[in-house]
């Protein structure tokens, strides 16, 4: 696999895996953290390098493939195209930041913590890059297991129950996915799990309906979209915040990615049958989540519900099958990751310093920590998708797609955007302005590491908001293959 220089992106999987296995045997926390940092920084370097290495005709930039299980026709095949690279870049950006922000001594037996985080890193990269259904499934699970352990060992008080719910939900979902994959494998012409032969499968309408439902449940639970979302707020709240960052910035994108890479291209007939229903359910769910967010007193849960609404918008956009909306999603997946990352960092700083995440117990932090509040305000604006922030372009395009699909659905979805302004600004007001509460009397402004990480995120938010063109050039070729089967010409 190392023989060909072309195949260097495969390192995105092997490096974190090696780093993880190494971490379990390192006793010293500093060394473990350094290992994790080095590995994740190297991954970032590899993704960036693969950007420059790329062919302008982006699809199938790199393919690594060697036979894994000849008996059943599965090979370890990887692919890097516009869709994949965006998400790999996001993953590679998020992990070093998380590692940087973890202070010494926060987690007991930190080496295992870093090891499991790197394992998640490996799993996520594998999910995004897999060009073989079985490999995709294995990495899908591999990303889940370490997160379960991370949350259950280092999480909050009710962690065991909350993360178990999360685990059972997603595991059941992935079993449905497995059945779907196996069925598809057995009932096509070639004996192969490769994505190309899956795309070529000829299925009857009934088969498509069944398989669509199996795949859809798995992805819907992962995203999560209404009504499969009930695991999410508890899991986000109970997980240690670095893990929540992984969950909400990257892991939810697995579901969206699944929809774009597998669901929509595989089952055109079923998608066309179901998409109106699904979009309506999602939009209703968005409003529902936004309303709950308004009445939420727990800062972490507020962000969690806000995330349901934002992810819902992207999912709804995907099912409109309009190329504008899908282009918007590709950009927005990345930007949402950046924004929510910034929000979680702020929430984590507040929780670490005050020991609470009840909004009613907080207030007046701006006076104590002016820097932090600047960052928060920018992140909050991005969360509402104000113009000149990165989220604006993407959400605008998704709305465009929704409007073309059914104007009244776009109008309904618009309500959730208005609601998002309500709860986000309320949160900013109650937490950062007003009278200083007892909990924040000892609040100090943020450390240098925190400033630098937040600055990087803020710069991303602003640049991508003001000049988004490069991103669109980057993903422009990725949209075609997704909706190829829907355009007869």
């Amino acid at each position: 696999m190392f023989s060909a220089f072309d195949n260097f992106p495969a390192l995105l999987i092997w490096l974190p895996l090696a780093g993880a296995l190494l971490s379990f045997f390192i006793r010293s926390e500093i060394v473990a953290k350094t290992t994790a940092l080095v590995v994740s920084a190297l991954s970032l370097g590899i993704v960036v390098a693969s950007l420059f290495y790329s062919d302008p005709k982006f699809y199938q930039l790199t393919q690594v493939s060697y036979v894994w299980l000849p008996g059943i026709g599965s090979s370890f095949a990887l692919v890097l195209d516009g869709l994949t690279t965006t998400l790999c870049l996001l993953t590679a950006l998020v992990f070093p930041m998380i590692f940087l922000l973890i202070p010494k001594g926060r987690f007991q037996s930190a080496n295992n913590f870093y090891g499991l985080m790197l394992l998640t890193h490996c799993g996520l990269m594998g999910v995004f890059m897999a060009a073989d259904a079985l490999v995709f499934y294995l990495f899908w699970e591999l990303a889940l297991i370490p997160v379960y352990f991370l949350s259950s060992i280092w999480g909050g008080e009710k962690r065991i129950k909350a993360t178990f719910k999360f685990f059972i939900y997603t595991f059941l979902g992935s079993l449905f996915l497995l059945i779907g994959i196996l069925y598809l494998y057995l009932h096509q012409n070639t004996q192969s799990f490769s994505i190309v032969s899956f795309y070529g499968a000829e299925l009857t309408a009934t088969e498509q309906t069944w398989l669509f439902l199996l795949f859809f449940v798995a992805f819907a639970i992962k995203m999560p979209i209404f009504p499969f979302h009930t695991w999410q707020p508890d899991a986000y709240e109970q997980a240690p915040t670095p893990v929540t960052m992984v969950l909400s910035a990257v892991m939810v994108k697995m579901g969206l990615f699944g929809v774009l890479r597998w669901l929509i291209p595989l089952f055109p007939l079923a998608v066309k049958n179901f998409n109106t229903t699904i979009i309506i359910v999602i939009v209703v769910g968005m409003i529902y989540a936004s309303l709950i967010a308004i009445y939420q007193d727990n800062l972490k849960k507020l962000i969690a519900y806000s995330s349901i609404a934002h992810i819902g918008l992207m999912a709804a956009g995907a099912f409109t099958l309009s190329s504008v909306a899908i282009e918007g999603i590709l950009v927005q997946m990345f930007n949402h990751g950046i924004n929510i990352m910034a929000l979680w960092i702020v929430a984590d700083i507040i929780e670490q310093q005050t020991g609470t995440n009840k909004i009613s117990a907080l207030g007046g932090i701006a006076k104590k920590a002016p820097m932090l509040s600047v960052f928060l305000v920018i992140a909050a604006f991005a969360n509402i998708a104000l113009p000149l922030t990165n989220a604006f372009v993407g959400e605008f395009m998704i709305f465009n797609g929704l409007y073309q699909f059914k104007p009244w659905i776009a109008a309904l979805a618009g309500v959730s955007i208005i609601l998002s302004a309500v709860y986000t600004l309320n949160m900013v007001k109650n937490v950062f302005y007003g009278e200083s509460s007892a909990a924040v009397t000892k609040f100090t402004d943020i450390s240098r590491v925190q400033v630098s990480v937040l600055s990087v995120l803020t710069i991303f938010i602003l640049i991508a908001g003001i000049y988004p063109t490069p991103m669109f050039e980057f993903i422009s070729d990725a949209v075609g293959p997704i909706i190829k089967k829907y355009n007869p010409n």
Binding site: G71, L138, E141, I145, I160, F167, L182, Y183, H187
Partner: protein
């Protein structure tokens, strides 16, 4: 053939070691050497070197599938002896007798690995069963152990009776005991042949503890001394499944469509009953008994499907299930308290053993990158080959999801909860090494199952 002879001879030898030495360690050592020898003998036969060359009159015939199966059984027994020898020594004043009985069981299993005739099937099953009745009751002072032995004996005798009746009916209708002879006869399913087949189906379901013939299992498994439960639940159950698969493939393969639905219902029932009942258990040992029923449900899918995937999956399932279960029982046998709470904080006290237990549990739950995943994977593949039976696959995965619930309760206790008291357990270095080796084996099979599967071709 090699394995039958060596294991029977070694069983006799084991009895004599009881006279020759009073050191229990030596007895265990002799037993371990014995298993290794039988394993090597079986391997040699796989390579084409048979010790004896006599005319079996077509009653025994060893093909690669049978020999690989036997190899897995012997290897699992080796791991079992290595992990549990100290418990076997503690369980009796004269462990040599018990070892001897286990060698006789192995000899019976080797007969099963090659049976070509219903008579050999019957003899093999009986050679396996009779020593087990004794092993189940080997804790003579314990009332539960006595109960287990009696229950096992009565139920076993009953199902053997059914089997004999079935064999008699088939013999009466086809005039032959050999599998081919029976197969040639059942082309037209007369009432006599059909009832013979159904009787055999029922008795085999008894032996593999498939619902609704599973009621003896939890009591017997719980009452027997834990070391022997381990042996019964893994090695013996795999052997029964092998016999089940081979019998129905060779003798009734042609009328597959006639009995397939019956087996599908049995499999679905076993999966549902086994998994749901396991959820409510408070004792780990009893929970593992129900889990073994649930796993039997998955293996029933192989008997149901009877295609290439099913055969490959069975081989993998024997290995995955036996290795994981043996490791769990080995740890359980060392615990005095069998409640789930007794495992609280186990990982903090014994990280290495806990890790191996974790891998075993993940494998039983069928999490990817462990052997258990591919075992279940092949079974699902085998079932999904029948497009119209999507429901059976859905039942299977729903019950797999339920099984996650109870396996992960153990993981939660081991890893996420605080220990109540200082642990008095002390695991020897050797025990840890074997446990880790076992865990690595499970992982290797989970990453590359082809290494095992291609042996049968």
């Amino acid at each position: 053939m090699n394995a039958i002879i060596i294991s029977a001879l070694w069983g006799v030898l084991m009895m004599y070691t009881g006279f020759m030495t009073s050191a229990k360690r030596t007895v265990s050592l002799v037993a371990i050497i014995g298993v290794v020898l039988v394993f090597v003998a079986n391997w040699l036969e796989y390579l084409g070197l048979s010790f004896v060359n006599m005319d079996m009159m077509g009653m025994l015939q060893f093909n690669t599938f049978g020999l690989v199966f036997n190899g897995i059984i012997l290897f699992s027994t080796l791991i079992y002896f290595l992990l549990s020898s100290t418990e076997i020594e503690k369980s009796s004043h004269t462990p040599s007798d018990l070892y001897a009985l286990m060698f006789f069981v192995l000899s019976g299993i080797s007969v099963i690995a090659g049976f070509q005739s219903l008579l050999m099937l019957f003899i093999g099953i009986e050679i396996i069963s009779i020593p087990l009745y004794v092993l189940a009751g080997s804790d003579k002072s314990n009332l539960k152990s006595n109960e287990a032995a009696l229950k096992y004996f009565l139920m076993g005798a009953f199902s053997t009776g059914l089997m004999l009746m079935g064999i008699a009916l088939l013999y009466g209708s086809s005039g032959s005991f050999s599998l081919e002879g029976v197969a040639a006869g059942v082309g037209v399913l007369t009432p006599m042949r059909a009832s013979g087949m159904v009787l055999l189906l029922a008795s085999m379901s008894f032996k593999v503890s498939a619902a609704p013939f599973h009621f003896w299992t939890p009591d017997v498994y719980e009452g027997s001394p834990t070391v022997y439960t381990s042996f019964m639940a893994t090695v013996v159950k795999s052997a029964a499944f092998f016999a089940f698969l081979k019998l129905f493939e060779s003798a009734f393969g042609e009328v597959h469509g006639e009995w397939q639905m019956l087996v599908a219902v049995i499999a679905a029932l076993t999966l549902i009953i086994g998994n749901i009942t396991a959820v409510f258990q408070q004792s780990v040992k009893r929970m593992l008994s129900y889990s073994s029923i649930a796993q039997a449900g998955f293996m029933m899918l192989g008997v149901f499907a009877l295609n290439t995937y099913a055969k490959q999956g069975m081989i993998l399932y024997f290995a995955a299930y036996s290795l994981a279960t043996i490791a769990l029982f080995a740890v359980l046998a060392k615990l005095k308290d069998h409640s789930i709470e007794a495992l609280n904080g186990f990982a903090k006290q014994h990280p290495v053993v806990a890790f191996s237990v974790l891998i075993s549990l993940l494998s039983l739950a069928g999490i990817p990158l462990t052997a258990g995943f591919f075992a279940k994977y092949y079974m699902l593949l085998a079932v999904l080959k029948y497009a119209e039976l999507l429901w059976l696959a859905l039942v299977a995965i729903l019950s797999a999801a339920i099984s996650v619930y109870y396996y992960f309760r153990l993981i939660q206790a081991i890893y996420f909860r605080e220990p109540a008291a200082e642990s008095e357990l002390d695991f020897s270095g050797f025990f840890k090494v074997v446990m880790v080796f076992n865990a690595i084996l499970i992982l290797v099979l989970g990453i590359h199952p082809d290494w095992l599967i291609k042996l049968i071709y």
